[in-house]
Symmetry: C2
Subunit: 384 residues, 2 copies
């Protein structure tokens, strides 16, 4: 089923020769008029050249976004930045705007020079293929993803459409992931950034595939304002739904994974505390391997929690695997029968771990995936 962009946005996705086997690797997204946008970006000190470029354009209006897959254009130094400038200039030529009105994004291997000339010469073809459908654009941004990630919500005469990619080097702050979201709702520039920051905090910042934070993570929200004005709370809720849906789609497509794990942390001091504990469990290779094998090895969860917060009081810790409590107030719970039931819960493709870590007010959920031999195999080679 075709997923359309909101009014005023068109896109295309073509092959320009960056990926070795001729797959789509160039996405082009445009607006006829200059539009407002908001963005959140990786906090990695080695942020990629396109991140540096786009971040510098926050609060300016834009006409287009160019994204390539198959090359992260990260750790590429001044040449990498020149490649971004060439890309933006070429897109501006095609559209008849300024280079500063073009956002740029990249994803793929780090440290490989980006052949920007291939993007430059392919952009007229990308412009000729523009349509309101998201499908070709969504396909063009994928790397090791096995399927595109799309989400759309309609609210009161306006809509929000999001397209994303991400399957590994995927961890909060931000998770290698790119998300491109557009809306035609009439919202102010300030509102746009606040809403996006808030939605990202409870979606993309709460997923972890391998606890590896990328150099390229970016979420873009473009606003054409061609639709209806929407009450702010309703817009925020719809945007949060789009972001959460895309984030969950990423974890479900995590490299080599077989299971989705919802790590619930409650009783935390505050949101940051809860997220830090949830992420610590999500980052545990030992727990993730146990999930892969369907083994209810809850001691690895407790160990990860206790390592992440050295002031945790184990005597108030409770832990559930699905509906089965396995740890109660610092003591194992449920006996052999409980472990058998916990093992049955672990056999599911979607597992919920509920950790009560204290008596605080915060409750958060972090999404994660298991660690499989396929993940190791996928990541054991390929650079040379």
């Amino acid at each position: 089923m075709a997923v359309r962009w909101p009014r005023g946005v068109t896109s295309s996705g073509i092959a320009c020769g960056i990926k070795p086997r001729g797959e789509r690797d160039l996405g082009f997204l445009t607006s006829e008029l200059p539009i407002a946008w908001a963005g959140t970006f990786t906090r990695n000190a080695a942020a990629a050249a396109p991140v540096t470029w786009s971040r510098a354009r926050l609060r300016q209006s834009v006409r287009a976004l160019v994204v390539n897959s198959g090359n992260a254009n990260a750790c590429t130094g001044p040449d990498g930045y020149s490649a971004v400038e060439s890309t933006a200039a070429a897109a501006a030529d095609v559209l008849g705007c300024n280079a500063e009105e073009v956002l740029v994004s990249s994803t793929g291997p780090i440290g490989v020079p980006l052949p920007a000339d291939r993007i430059v010469s392919a952009l007229p073809r990308a412009a000729a293929a523009l349509s309101e459908d998201t499908a070709e654009f969504a396909a063009s941004i994928l790397t090791t993803d096995t399927r595109p990630k799309l989400a759309r919500r309609e609210v009161e005469g306006a809509s929000i459409t999001g397209v994303a990619k991400g399957a590994a080097m995927l961890a909060p702050n931000m998770a290698t992931m790119l998300a491109f979201i557009a809306t035609d709702a009439v919202v102010s520039q300030d509102h746009l950034q606040e809403s996006l920051t808030s939605a990202v905090r409870t979606s993309f910042d709460r997923i972890s595939v391998d606890a590896c934070e990328s150099t390229n993570d970016s979420v873009y929200l473009l606003s054409t304002a061609l639709g209806a004005p929407i009450e702010r709370a309703r817009f925020d809720a719809a945007l949060a739904e789009v972001c959460s849906s895309l984030a969950e789609q990423m974890v479900r497509d995590a490299e080599g994974s077989t299971k989705l794990v919802r790590i619930e942390v409650s009783g935390a001091t505050d949101e940051d505390h809860g997220v830090a504990l949830g992420r610590a469990v999500a980052a545990s290779c030992l727990w993730r391997a146990a999930v892969n094998g369907g083994d209810p090895n809850w001691g690895r969860v407790i160990s990860a929690l206790g390592a992440a917060d050295r002031s945790l009081d184990p005597s108030v810790l409770d832990l559930w695997i699905g509906a089965q409590q396995v740890f109660s107030a610092g003591v194992p719970f449920g006996g052999m029968d409980g472990m058998a039931k916990a093992a049955a819960e672990m056999a599911s493709e979607e597992i919920r771990i509920s950790c009560v870590v204290g008596r605080g007010p915060a409750h958060v959920e972090v999404l994660s995936a298991d660690l499989s031999t396929a993940y190791v195999e996928l990541n054991a080679g390929g650079t040379t």
Copy 2:
């Protein structure tokens, strides 16, 4: 070749029925006279019952140490602590001392009730088997280790002997690892703890197999003072050598690993900064998978560094894989030829990665292992 304990220490290692297949699982280490000791322990908030027991006995003299493998006695609540008390009392009965003079240590799965009665009834047999040789004790403390870890240094009429275990849930602060070190050198109690703390900081605290910190990590240093007095600097150097040797043996026997990786970080602000960066590289699943495949995917190293310290300046970053520089002042270095040489370096069983992260004075080395499909398989099941 037999490795002996220093004068005054004897040990044994027998099977008491905790491990399911009748392997050795009970180690007993004794001194005829009360002796001084020092210790460092996990900082995990969910520290195991034996850690709590032994830590409370720091600065008291002791007569013995009982260690079991096959069960961590962690997350076991008050029953777990009672099991430690029963164990200490039984050892005290056998030796004719107070229970408070008996240290206790455990390693194995978390959250399983420890059948202390099996230890209690086996201790007389363990006492009858005591000898000056380390071999049976070293065998009795192993879990997924494929071989015992032993180190001995002789200095000026005194000696230091260390025995250790550890192959996974192995990360700094402290790395599941146990180490039991004894010396007959004449050193003061204060000196003993200071020397141990210092030696641990530059050995066990600088290894990482899977970035998972255990509930049971403990390093014990027992001192009979039956040998010669040693100049402090020489003692410290010998102790540091013993600890570093044991730590390296652990990483070389890391679960499923095929390679040892020495991560050198130089130009760091201070030691803590350097260690944090080294550990971040050691914790990267993506980099560790690349190591497993012999892939010189150095972008994953930079990405891990940049995520661990958001204020790093990429334009001063240099990176070498073995003798091949691959990144210089923020720019890829060496071209295709360099990558081929880096790939050749990665084919070795021991790899050195050198990261220059700034212009600070600190230089540290962190030891780590690769991530293999065998590690995932080893940890995917077994609890139920």
